[in-house]
Symmetry: C2
Subunit: 346 residues, 2 copies
């Protein structure tokens, strides 16, 4: 067997909800690593993590940190990416960025490998990982787009708190405990940590993820609208989104109504979904089988069910799409891109 090329890899934001999963996946997938740099904010620098049984000391992420690095995976927030991705690119690093910093930059490929893997090679140093709620939706819709075309998507989301980070997970669990024990609680992080108004997430549904745009849509909703068009490479797709946070730890669920451009056969739709890479069709109403956030947690796949022809529009489908927002929605999609780059450079 030929000797494989090994890469110097950096992970930025190693202690965050996504960074932890990126490191786990690099280990589990046996990613061809020569040297691993684990980078974070000054606050976490000096801490030690285990990687393949070895201690790795977390270092503060600085421009010089990227000297000698070949592939870097960023998930430390948009501000960190805006500052350090250009510095890494200057040092010849290929960056995979999990923040929104470069997603809509026309020069930056926005990639879900099952949808548009061919775009990776057009990169100018950075490939953007899409928003979690967008990834699972376009992943599930791609086989239908290719076969029938898509004219319109109307999606309402049921998003897990882990999308807002470890502190939001802890807040939701603490609030749940408070309410079970005392009947009340005090919110302090969600819906948006940087905004003044806080709302209870335990035993509730908050129709706000990210800040509001002047259109009345949130930026999370606009991400779903704009990123879907960019990833599909089709600005003619009309997309409407309502993004809602619910008290789930891992796994985003989505209620999706999609209008196709041509007639379809429902059994063919099911076959297309069942055969698509990374998609698991869980769709048997008679046995009460459909995707559940609780069962998607920890898995890399996107799960699809409740597939049914609309009763008022015969060219429309309704479906329920679930995936672990930290995995296919973030870390796994990023590691898939890294694996593609590694294979291309073999």
């Amino acid at each position: 067997m030929a000797k494989h090329k090994l890469f110097n890899v950096a992970v930025v934001g190693a202690t965050g909800a996504v960074g932890v999963q990126i490191l786990r996946l690099l280990e589990e997938r046996n990613f061809p690593i020569a040297e691993l740099k684990v980078l974070s904010s000054a606050r976490s620098a000096g801490k030690v993590i285990k990687f393949k049984g070895q201690d790795v000391i977390i270092q503060e992420a600085k421009p010089e940190s990227f000297d000698g690095v070949e592939i870097a995976l960023f998930s430390a927030g948009g501000d960190v990416s805006r500052e350090l991705v250009p510095a890494a690119i200057d040092r010849g690093v290929i960056c995979i960025d999990n923040t929104s910093a470069f997603r809509m930059d026309p020069e930056t490929p926005l990639v879900v490998p099952e949808v548009n893997v061919d775009k990776i090679n057009e990169h100018k140093g950075v490939i953007a990982n899409p928003n979690c709620s967008t990834i699972q939706m376009v992943h599930a819709l791609k086989p239908l787009y290719d076969r029938y075309g898509i004219s319109r998507i109307i999606v309402s989301t049921y998003q897990a708190v882990s999308g807002a980070g470890v502190s939001a997970i802890n807040e939701m669990l603490r609030q749940s405990k408070d309410i079970l024990e005392t009947g009340s609680t005090k919110p302090d992080i969600l819906p948006v940590s940087s905004l003044p108004v806080k709302h209870q997430i335990a035993f509730n549904a908050i129709p706000q993820i990210d800040k509001f745009h002047e259109s009345g849509f949130t930026y999370e909703e606009l991400k779903m609208i704009n990123e879907t068009k960019k990833i599909m490479g089709d600005d003619s797709i009309e997309v409407t989104a309502t993004c809602v946070r619910i008290p789930v730890v891992y796994g985003h669920s989505e209620s999706v109504y999609v209008e196709l451009k041509s007639d379809f056969d429902l059994s063919e739709v099911r076959s297309l979904l069942a055969d698509a890479p990374g998609i698991v069709l869980q769709d048997n109403p008679a046995e009460q089988v459909y995707p559940l956030a609780s069962e998607s947690a920890g898995k890399n796949e996107t799960f699809v069910g409740r597939v049914r022809r609309d009763l008022s529009n015969p060219r429309a489908l309704n479906m329920w799409i679930v995936s672990d927002n930290l995995l296919k929605g973030a870390a796994w999609n990023a590691v898939q891109i890294a694996e593609y780059i590694a294979i291309e450079q073999e």
Copy 2:
């Protein structure tokens, strides 16, 4: 002041989640009651409840229970209504039925007072109370229907466990406690108590409420589709629904996309909603104000927010509609109907 007529009233299903609220509202509203009969299954018969400070003994509901009764409010399940409503009608009782037993019967008015109060007088002994998720939606959409017309509705729901009764509330709270304390739990009631497969509701989202129809829609979804057309009195409205249970105790939330038949001005839409009876407009994105299930609990109103023009279809609106499913969604709507009947017979 003229002496008001008093009524002999029966409440059937007095120990259920809705029955308890009906009794509370009859007391709070000072409903003109001569004699109150509190009826239930044999299992609860003999228990004592308080009504206006007086002890009332729960009696087993039988056909003879309705002798001398003038108004009866039923919320003991469809089977009980199918058996006892005809017996009550035979005895001259006006029945207000909160189950699905008579809702789609062409002879039976299906009433949300703010939408079609005029239908009450067409009754043949029974007036049906619509499904909880339908009531709040048609309540909020009625002022828009009257002004602009509605061609299509696409709704995804975020429904509270109290819609499945007291046992489902207890199950969700128990499961939450189990998971917080031990990391796992065992489901035994939801999604549908009479079906074999059970799914975890705590920290999850279950896309099944009621059984499945052969179309792939659930009966809960079909109720929203069919009841909306009947209440609005317009079979041309196209409705699509996806109904989802989430871990909330009280208050259904709904993400609603609605296509209007004519152009609209967004400020006029807000005025129409703000001025509509029983509607509270909570819509100020700059201040992060929007309806929340947690704040709707215990209130009779329907709350509307996130009102925004669709970005792809200028004749479409998106909105977020929240109401306490046990109150406007059940008990309060039924008591409103009872109050209308009482006033008509003054």
